[in-house]
């Protein structure tokens, strides 16, 4: 039996040789998620001191004990640091191909950090302040990060920046593709791209390349991972496409000229909506047209109807619910890498929930406090049918 890791990760027979221990770790960590009773206790708290008391009985006890006074932002950074510690521990235990898979997960945060550093450099902010605001999961070599803002904000500066700095980072290729595509579209001026194009659009393009790249990698791994992660990434890509279209109404991106040139370029080349759906989405200019396009795709009609009803939930909440449902399912089967991605994303959702609850308590908005999506909850709408036994 070969013990050197190869490109694929093996199926039921040999997955556990290289990845059994780590998967067991992740499944152990799965039990650290806050349960319904924890959420219930925390939402009943009147002050943030009570919240701190309740949190010390959950898995967050260490993270919270360091905070003298609990604030929503303090809680958020403590929780994120806890997630990063756990992730780094798992990462150090991992071998190929799981190691690359875990790295792919961090690229998303790297992209965000790079954009933050670039934008901050343009506005001339202090490098240390910027580094403090970077997402810890997306940090790369400190020397590289420090050198990003030192480049001059002019034409030659950016070309240099790309060639010396960005090309070394794992997300370099995405930048290359983006600059290539923009220079083709804008007629040759590579350097002004970063200045003229809005930072969000650059980020959306990079995320698009990342999703496509991740999807290719996952397909190469084959087996259950290709199936489950493929599905998760397709849903992610579709969510992005729908959100970009929906949120572009009323902004310059919705102009007919911009729609085909710029907005279409932001749609990822994976997903249920690709290629027919994204082609139609590129021509959509109002919400009704968007609704008509989505009617053709049954898995998104329910989400769209939530948005159209404009009742209590917003479309973002509907997407979050759909995501949590899909990610929880990733834990239901074994012998694939989906549970690692799911763990990071579900932890993120939990952190979002905690920040939401503490903010509601702080701002005395108790009637809104239950508008979060709990993770692994037995009261979740998709589980209620199994309760009657």
């Amino acid at each position: 039996m070969a013990s050197t890791p190869s490109g694929t990760h093996g199926g039921m027979a040999d997955f556990n040789i290289h990845h059994g221990f780590i998967e067991a770790l992740i499944r152990g960590m799965r039990s650290s998620f806050l349960a319904d009773s924890d959420y219930h206790h925390i939402t009943q708290c009147e002050t943030l001191e009570d919240v701190k008391l309740n949190m010390s009985e959950t898995d967050y006890a260490d993270a919270v004990s360091d905070l003298t006074v609990l604030t929503p932002s303090g809680l958020q950074s403590a929780a994120i640091n806890k997630l990063v510690t756990e992730f780094k521990y798992v990462r150090t235990q991992a071998v190929e191909p799981l190691a690359t898979f875990l790295d792919f997960i961090t690229y998303e945060y790297m992209i965000e950090n790079i954009m933050l550093l670039l934008k901050g450099a343009l506005s001339g902010r202090d490098i240390n302040e910027l580094l403090a605001q970077c997402h810890p999961l997306g940090m790369f070599k400190e020397s590289t990060m420090r050198s990003i803002p030192t480049f001059e904000a002019n034409a030659k500066g950016f070309a240099d920046l790309y060639q010396t700095v960005l090309v070394d980072t794992p997300v370099g290729p995405y930048f290359a593709m983006f600059l290539q595509e923009s220079s083709n579209a804008m007629g040759g001026e590579v350097r002004n791209v970063i200045e003229e194009v809005e930072i969000e659009i650059i980020k959306s393009s990079l995320i698009k390349y990342w999703i496509e790249d991740f999807y290719q990698y996952v397909q190469k791994l084959g087996g259950e991972t290709a199936e489950i992660m493929g599905d998760i990434l397709m849903v992610r890509a579709d969510t992005n496409a729908i959100n970009i279209t929906l949120n572009s109404f009323g902004t310059p991106l919705n102009e007919p000229v911009m729609r085909t040139s710029d907005r279409k370029r932001l749609y990822p080349a994976v997903g249920h909506l690709y290629p027919a759906g994204t082609h139609m989405l590129a021509d959509v200019s109002t919400e009704e047209e968007l609704g008509k396009v989505l009617d053709l795709f049954p898995q998104y009609t329910s989400i769209w109807s939530v948005h159209a009803a404009e009742a209590e939930m917003s479309i973002d909440d509907a997407f979050y619910e759909r995501d949590v449902q899909a990610l929880e399912l990733a834990f239901e089967s074994q012998m694939h890498f989906g549970c690692f991605y799911a763990y990071v994303k579900l932890k993120e959702q939990e952190i979002r929930n905690l920040v939401w609850i503490t903010e509601c308590i702080l701002q005395a908005q108790k009637d809104e406090i239950n508008k979060f999506v709990p993770v692994f909850s037995s009261h979740a709408p998709w589980r209620s049918s199994t309760k009657a036994r």
Binding site: S248, G250, P252, D316
Partner: protein
Amino acid sequence: MSEVPPTRMNQQVFKGKKKAAESGHKLLKKKADALKVKFRDYAKMIAETKGSMSSDATTAFFSLTQAEYAAGNFKQKVAEGTLTARVRVGAGIDNVAGVKLPVFTPYETGSIADNQSLGLVGGGKKIVSVRDKFTVFLHQLIKLASLQTSFVTLDEAMKVTNRRVNALENVTIPKIQNILDYIDRELDELEREGQFFFSRVTIAIHYHCE
């Protein structure tokens, strides 16, 4: 009192002064009353605006929380972007009952929002609603600031006017009145002296003629 020679001319002069002072006093009193009315109006408007502002503030900040739930931490992205003001405050002067009060008016500079594609991949609607709610809050803030500066200036002006009214009432007019009384008395006495002298002279002449 001793500096004013008690002549008829001075009597006329001071009578004129008294009339001027009294009419001035009446006008100032009218101005003080008008200012008092305006003062009460401003106080009421300030109380109303403050009341509505507290609810506006909570909705604005809560919509920010909702947007952060949907779109992640976008505060840094906004802070790092180019900050050109979209709404500016113009300072103007309003004339109220003769008092020049400063007023602030908001006006749009028309510069396009830099971060229009902020919530592109999620939370866009919430960010738009944050923008709207904070704009409402901002307008309330400007209104309140304008009202409060006007209020303070109005207060100053009212104090000054009241001081002048009181000064006229309790110092100037009584002083003039005292001078007038003195002149009257002196003139009376002069007349009496004159009469007395005249009567003594006529008695002396009669005595001599007999």
